[in-house]
């Protein structure tokens, strides 16, 4: 049996790519190693009655055009917006930012009246810049090194939009591309209590500090999130993040794709520079006209393919592509709502994301630990309690607490394989940190799952535990993702393509790499078909 396309990996991008290919009439097979679909966008009931969004836990960047084109709401996608961004401080004070601008202004004014008034100006500017950058996220990467007329034409479009930007915004954009998150925020704000929770957006998933150059740009990605036309909006997927993957899978099946779980691929068979077949761990060999990898570049090329089948400079480029995961995840089942001493009660401040990021110095110290090979004793935490707005993920009155934790470097002292020895210590550091703000929190815990970068690699196939299939730092984005000259989903091997977060526009629950890869594959198919047709001798008109 042979397919038009086999997609290796049933993560959300692999499924998206498969759905688009199937929608275009291709016969598609998706192979997923695990028993559940979704890769890092997965929900699992690990404690009876409690559904964890095991890895990825909020939705924002999922492209609205992907949602519409695949009709995801029809297949079960439901997104509930986060209401607030709450940050408690050790001195007992707290700051909460809301959708309501006046309420936010009053909250910030408690720390700095100046900041309170500047805050909306900053938001406006970032949103304008996000609007400039957004078309680049929704289209294939620019090709600044190419003199191909189409590449030049595409860049001309960007240049025109750049020209139309207000000079002030142009300066802002250049600043953003080069500055650190803290440098940028220092230009605008004076209060540490506001800057610290804002700065962390620049470092999520990277092995950089908030003072590392280039981190300002990543802040912008957080203003690009969009729900219903509202920028900067984040949401929970009802039933956990896995429901996003399930909806995409349902769409793919609806369009005719076949999806197999527990079908681990051992290698991609390459002969004469051409990807011929995928070989499963059980020995089955499946052939297809096109093979698409939804695994990260390391796994795809150094794992399934093997460097020996690749041009040396490409293989070297893949090796240099920085993975180095820096974060972990702690999922908790609790028997009551956490109560923050800085703002007691079950108020709406808990219905969004909660940042334990009390000062820039705190973040720098957390980074210091990581630089020298240990996890942060007092890490940055991004905490959400999805069960507050989506009661379906926990029994009545009980809750799920999801803690994203940074820094937890993959390369821990003694080697990554030492992580299992440190796993519970990382879990304790997270719980202890949170308990400093929520007295009695420890006693409320019914179940705890700790995922170190090592676990992310072992369980979810994320090389070095990098949640984005490769760091989202400027030098690894756009035309350099994953390797310069190979940023358009094509690989040096004929018939082999890539479609996941290691390609443009990168990581996050976006669906864009999968969708753009499918478009590139379909366009290449069309090109081949046209060339074949042109070569075929003319035999008169069809009957």
């Amino acid at each position: 049996m042979s397919w038009d396309a086999i997609v290796v990996g049933g993560g959300h991008n692999g499924l998206t790519c498969a759905a688009y290919l199937a929608k275009a009439g291709r016969k598609v097979l998706v192979l997923e190693r695990r028993h559940v679909l979704g890769g890092a966008a997965v929900s699992e009931e690990l404690h009876p009655g409690f559904t964890y969004s095991v890895c990825s836990y909020v939705v924002s960047l999922l492209r609205p055009w992907v949602i519409r084109e695949l009709e995801l709401p029809r297949f079960g996608l439901e997104i509930i917006p986060l209401e607030a961004a709450f940050s408690p401080y050790p001195d007992g004070r707290a700051l909460c930012r809301w959708a309501d601008p006046e309420r936010t202004r009053r909250e910030i004014a408690a720390f700095s009246q100046r900041d309170a008034e500047v805050y909306p100006e900053f938001g406006k500017k970032m949103s304008q810049l996000a609007r400039f950058v957004q078309p680049m996220v929704d289209a294939p990467a620019p090709r600044p090194t190419s003199l191909d007329p189409r590449a030049l034409f595409e860049m001309l479009g960007t240049a025109r939009r750049y020209r139309d930007l207000d000079p002030d915004l142009r300066a802002g954009l250049l600043k953003l591309m080069t500055a650190s998150a803290v440098d940028l925020l220092d230009e605008w704000f004076e209060s540490d209590q506001l800057k610290a929770p804002m700065a962390v957006s620049g470092i999520i998933g990277t092995f950089l500090g908030v003072r590392s150059p280039g981190t300002a740009y990543v802040l912008l990605h957080h203003y690009m999130g969009e729900i219903d036309g509202a920028y900067r909006a984040w949401g929970f997927s009802k039933g956990g993040t896995g429901k996003v993957s399930e909806a995409i899978a349902a769409a793919a099946r609806h369009f005719g794709a076949e999806i197999r779980t527990e079908a681990a691929v051992e290698r991609i068979d390459v002969r004469g520079g051409e990807a011929r077949a995928v070989v499963l761990e059980n020995g089955d060999e499946l052939t297809a006209r096109t093979i698409v990898s939804a695994l990260d570049p390391h796994r795809t090329f150094l794992g399934l393919v093997g460097a020996e089948h690749l041009p040396a400079d490409f293989a070297a480029g893949v090796r240099r592509f920085k993975m180095r995961g820096s974060s972990g995840k702690v999922n908790l089942a609790v028997d009551r709502l956490p109560e923050f001493s800085a703002r007691p009660g079950a108020g709406p401040h808990l219905r969004g994301d909660i940042a334990i990021s009390p000062s820039i110095e705190y973040l720098e110290r957390a980074y210091d630990d990581a630089k020298y090979g240990s996890f942060s004793k007092r890490p940055y935490l991004n905490v959400v309690i999805p069960s507050l707005v989506d009661p379906s993920v926990a029994p009545p009155g009980k809750h799920v607490v999801s803690c994203f934790v940074q820094y937890a470097p993959y390369h821990i002292a003694g080697g990554a394989a030492r992580w299992p020895e440190h796993r519970e210590a990382l879990g304790d550091a997270v719980v202890d940190t949170l308990a400093e703000y929520c007295p009695g929190f420890k006693e409320s815990i019914l179940h705890r799952q700790v995922l170190t970068p090592w676990d992310l690699e072992q369980q979810f196939g994320l090389t070095e535990g990098n949640i984005f299939h490769g760091e989202l730092s400027l030098e690894q984005l756009a035309f350099q993702r994953p390797v310069a000259g190979w940023a358009h989903y094509k690989t040096p091997l004929r018939r082999l393509w890539m479609c996941a977060s290691g390609t443009h526009p990168g990581g996050g629950l976006m669906g864009a790499p999968g969708a753009l890869a499918a478009r590139a594959i379909l366009r290449a198919d069309l090109g081949t078909a046209l060339r074949t047709a042109a070569r075929r001798p003319h035999r008169g008109s069809a009957p």
Partner: protein, 395 residues
């Protein structure tokens, strides 16, 4: 000046936005917080508790109660079983719609009618010769809509397991906090949900019990703005917005038949005489001039219009009510009367009245849309209603 409902002590303490509106002479909460978002999502993912006391409520008792209602409405309600509710409309003698609402049959000789407009005089006028007693219980009963996927769990918690089996459009007597209440599995959100009818003097005890039981289920107090979004998703029309009552119409053109507002399905023509029967028979034979439909407005086209101006696409955070022209080419073939962005379906929806010839589902039309002060048009496709119809609603 509007007056408070029996739940006012609770609703006013919670309504931090002070966003109220007048509804049938009562103070009604539009949205408890600045934005209705939380309340909307509670209806769809947890449960919302909404004060619907301002509905008019009439008890009809006596051997002829059913016959009277069958005569004045478009349905033969004498065929209903006790413990059932039905949704319907009623017309004047010309077959033009006066109002829409529900009728519950509590027992053989006891029915309850709810309506948007006062209906006592009209019922009394037609009751001559029928053995029936009509009681206006509008102010005697407080009413709460408990709507959303968690609503059954909350209700069972306060009213006991016997309400768990209540079927879609079923009615049952129950006790909440020791108060005898009536429960119907009805609502205006198009979701799993109930309405609870309580003696006004015990209204607060019932509210408190529901609010307390609802806490672990994510229950939120909800206002009319969130309700409006959900009823558009459900494709439900609203009297006074999507159609004009024949009683209030100033000219003939403002009146509509049930067929013209999408309520043809509840008209039972072949039976004993009823108000408007002859006119409705004629219309059923000859066809109607208008049809009320759902519209799915092309989001990409709308986005492109905003893009031209360098703006992000802007949608209101709540539903809208206005008369907006709908075109086929350059010709106006109808008008939208209300609409909303649907956060659940990710669609821009509207309800519209169209010339019947252009009302088939799938018909591609265009709707006027004002972008940055300029009137433009975007594509809109006639869509089946309800737009949103979850399985749990009936299950």
């Amino acid at each position: 000046m509007p007056i408070p409902t029996p739940f006012h002590a609770r609703t006013s303490a919670l309504c931090t936005s002070l966003a109220w509106k007048e509804w049938a002479g009562y103070h009604a909460v539009r949205s408890y917080d600045t934005y209705p978002e939380r309340e909307y999502f509670a209806f769809r993912h947890a449960a919302g508790l909404l004060d619907v006391t301002p509905l008019y409520k009439y008890d009809l008792r006596g051997p002829d109660a059913g016959r009277l209602l069958a005569y004045v409405t478009v349905k033969d309600v004498t065929q209903m079983k006790p413990g059932r509710v039905t949704y319907l409309c009623w017309c004047d003698a010309d077959g033009k719609v006066l109002d829409d609402g529900t009728i519950t049959r509590w027992d053989d000789a006891h029915y309850r009618l709810t309506s948007a407009d006062p209906s006592f005089a009209w019922l009394a006028r037609h009751a001559r010769g029928f053995d029936v007693e009509i009681e206006d219980v509008s102010e005697k009963l407080g009413a709460l809509a408990l709507q959303g996927p968690s609503s059954r769990a909350v209700l069972v918690d306060v009213a006991g397991a016997e309400v768990a089996g209540l079927r879609f459009f079923g009615a049952q007597h129950a006790h909440i906090a020791g108060v005898p209440v009536d429960v119907t599995r009805t609502g205006y959100t198009g979701d799993l949900g109930y309405e609870v009818w309580t003696p006004a003097e015990h209204a607060l005890a019932v509210w408190d019990a529901l609010a307390e039981a609802g806490r672990p289920y994510g229950l939120q107090p909800a206002g009319l703005d969130a309700l409006d979004m959900t009823r558009i998703e459900a494709g439900f029309i609203l009297g006074g917005v999507d159609y004009t009552s024949a009683r209030r119409a100033l000219i003939e053109d403002q009146k509509s038949s049930p067929y013209e507002i999408g309520l043809g399905w509840c008209v039972q023509l072949e039976r004993e005489p009823f108000l408007g029967q002859a006119a409705l028979r004629r219309e059923a034979r000859a066809g109607s001039r208008h049809a009320l439909v759902g519209l799915d407005i092309d989001w990409d086209a709308l986005r492109a219009l905003f893009d031209e101006k360098g703006l992000p696409p802007l949608v209101l955070a709540h539903a809208w009510r206005a008369s907006i022209p709908v075109y086929l080419g350059a010709v106006q073939v109808g008008y939208a009367t209300s609409g909303s962005w649907s956060p659940t379906l990710k669609k821009n929806l509207a309800l519209a009245t169209l010339e019947a010839a252009h009302a088939a589902p799938g018909t591609e039309l265009a709707i006027e849309w004002t972008v940055e002060h300029r009137r433009r048009t975007v594509g809109a496709t006639v869509a089946e209603r309800p737009f949103f119809d979850p399985e749990r609603k009936r299950k």
